[in-house]
């Protein structure tokens, strides 16, 4: 099967940009990625645009502005995993031989405040059952019951990610915070305080994927060679939805079964991605995972197999997931530092990890990183797991 490599990456910072439209931000990210890839208007044969709130033909607007149309342009919506979904489609189109090169980009301009989601029915809203952070809180609270996680652990995740984010010029929040600061912010839904939740915001990210026929068939890591601009192979890009039965599934059902053995969408996606990439969690050097809230990051450790079930608090305590640890998680600062522009967030992770593997990540560089994993999960449910290998 044809190998797929990341030929170029681009990003528009994540934050609030009142003077820029969603299209403006997309143009910035797409241009940078195409420039890195050395691709012009005829350089790609398909485009996939991830967005959840962009509206009709969001991708066409960006590429229309750039005078780059004619090829199929498909908008992709898969909640928080929209970018992972778009990447998966583009990777598949290249592997199947349909196209040689595909442009994948994510764009978003989120409404302010608690997001009103069309996902909920009017009666659920009227009954007060549409408070999205309260579902995050229940998941965090279960983790406290099952994994020995405390509020101090939740605060420590924020402290870690904000420290990482301080050296990311594309992050929204670049000031370090203390655990005391985090715990002094107001309680949104116990046990989650305001600073333990990421901010919905705006931004764009883009990736150019290209067929690499020369490398096809080789499953191992490339040896030696220059790091900057090094070939980064898309070893897996998997999207999965939920199975019924888990009451706290990201599918946000009104009920579930009284059993705890229903695999989560993240677990299903991770298994498939490890399988496809021919690696296991022990092979990972760096991870970007969904930290919509601090509890979600810890849950991701367990679901992705970075630790055993119930071991997330211990892994965090050991410092293993901080920069300098055995397996840094969210060196970009995560969504807690960057904010979450839904359509762009997963591709933002891929941009970060590609640059990590190319040793272009500056002060937040994970030394010698060769195998990276990006994870998003959210409403739908949708979970995406991407594996990149240098």
């Amino acid at each position: 099967m044809t190998d797929v490599v990341v030929a170029g990456t681009g990003i528009h910072p994540f934050g609030r940009f009142d003077a820029s439209s969603i299209t403006d931000m997309g143009v910035v990210a797409v241009r940078e990625a195409l420039r890195e890839a050395g691709a012009g208007r005829d350089g790609f044969q398909a485009a996939f645009c991830a967005t959840a709130y962009g509206g009709v033909a969001s991708g066409h607007k960006v590429l229309g502005r750039l005078g780059m149309t004619g090829m199929p342009i498909v908008d992709v919506e898969a909640g928080c995993a929209s970018g992972g979904a778009a990447l998966s489609l583009a990777g598949g189109a290249i592997r199947s031989g349909q196209v040689e090169c595909a442009l994948v980009f994510g764009i978003e301009k989120m409404p302010r405040g608690i997001i009103r989601s069309s996902f909920f029915e009017p009666w659920q809203e009227a009954a007060g059952l549409a408070a999205t952070p309260s579902y995050f809180a229940l998941r965090a609270q279960r983790l406290m019951q099952t994994s020995g996680v405390t509020k101090d652990h939740l605060a420590a995740v924020v402290v870690k990610n904000r420290r990482h984010g301080a050296s990311n010029p594309d992050a929204m929040f670049r000031a370090e915070v203390s655990a005391a600061d985090v715990l002094a912010s107001r309680v949104v839904c116990e046990p989650l305080h305001l600073w333990m939740l990421c901010s919905p915001n705006e931004g764009a990210a883009a990736v150019v994927l290209r067929a690499d026929h020369a490398r096809s068939g080789s499953r191992g890591h490339s040896e030696g060679g220059p790091c900057a601009g090094a070939n980064v192979r898309l070893a897996a890009a998997v999207l999965r939805s939920h199975l019924p039965g888990s009451v706290l599934s990201e599918s946000t059902p009104m009920s579930g079964l009284a059993r705890d053995d229903v695999p989560t969408p993240t677990e299903i996606a991770a298994r498939a991605a490890y399988d496809e990439a021919g690696i296991g969690p022990d092979d990972l050097d760096v991870v970007e995972c969904q930290d919509t809230d601090a509890g979600r990051e810890l849950l991701s450790y367990e679901e992705l197999g970075l630790c055993e079930a119930g071991g997330s608090a211990a892994l965090l305590e050991k410092g293993g997931t901080a920069l300098g640890g055995d397996l840094p998680v969210n060196p970009s600062g995560g969504l807690l530092s960057k904010g979450e522009p839904l359509g762009a967030s997963a591709l933002g992770q891929v941009v970060e990890l590609t640059r990590q593997l190319q040793e272009r990540a500056g002060d937040r560089q994970v030394a010698g990183a060769r195998v990276a994993l990006a994870h998003t999960v959210g409403r739908g449910a949708n979970a995406s797991v991407v594996v990149l290998v240098r």
């Binding site: 009103r116 989601s117 809203e125 009954a127 229940l138 039965g245 009920s255």
Partner: protein, 147 residues
């Protein structure tokens, strides 16, 4: 006395002996809530509506402190998951808005509560939704007496 209506038809049985209406699948035997014409677990078209038990145990909980989109009632209010004997865990409001007063596995009882601000100002109608209250809580008993 005002007429009482459910926030959604068919969600629960109104009256002195309220009950959530779930669905039991004749094929796989699993129970869902709310009920549905198609089983969410096995796709069979053989779901029979059943009245779920009025009491269960608390499985997860928090409190909502700011009004979520589309909600016009009072805050804070409790929010959580109650596990019922039919083998189903239900997302629900809780009458207790202080999470520190609740504990895992405690017994909870179904109650219907008015969505105050959702009462149609013109009509003489109270919109009710379902909630769970701590079974042995003196506070809950006191509130019930007040009502």
């Amino acid at each position: 006395m005002s007429e009482e209506v459910a926030v959604r038809d068919g969600l629960f049985v109104l009256g002195d002996h309220p009950a959530l209406v779930g669905g039991r699948c004749e094929e796989c035997g699993l129970v869902c809530f709310p009920t549905s014409d198609i089983c969410p677990y096995c796709s069979a078209d053989s779901v029979t509506p059943i009245e779920l038990s009025r009491s269960g145990v608390l499985w997860a909980w928090t409190a909502v402190t700011a009004p979520p989109p589309g909600y016009e009632g009072a805050v804070p209010y409790g929010f959580g998951v109650v596990e019922l004997p039919e083998g189903v865990r239900v997302i629900t409001r809780l009458t207790e808005p202080d999470p520190s007063k609740l504990e895992s596995g405690q017994s909870m009882q179904l109650v219907l509560v008015p969505l105050t601000a959702a009462v149609d100002s013109g009509a003489d109608q109270a919109v009710l939704t379902y909630s769970f209250a701590p079974s042995e809580s003196r506070r809950a008993a006191h509130r019930k007496a007040e009502r």
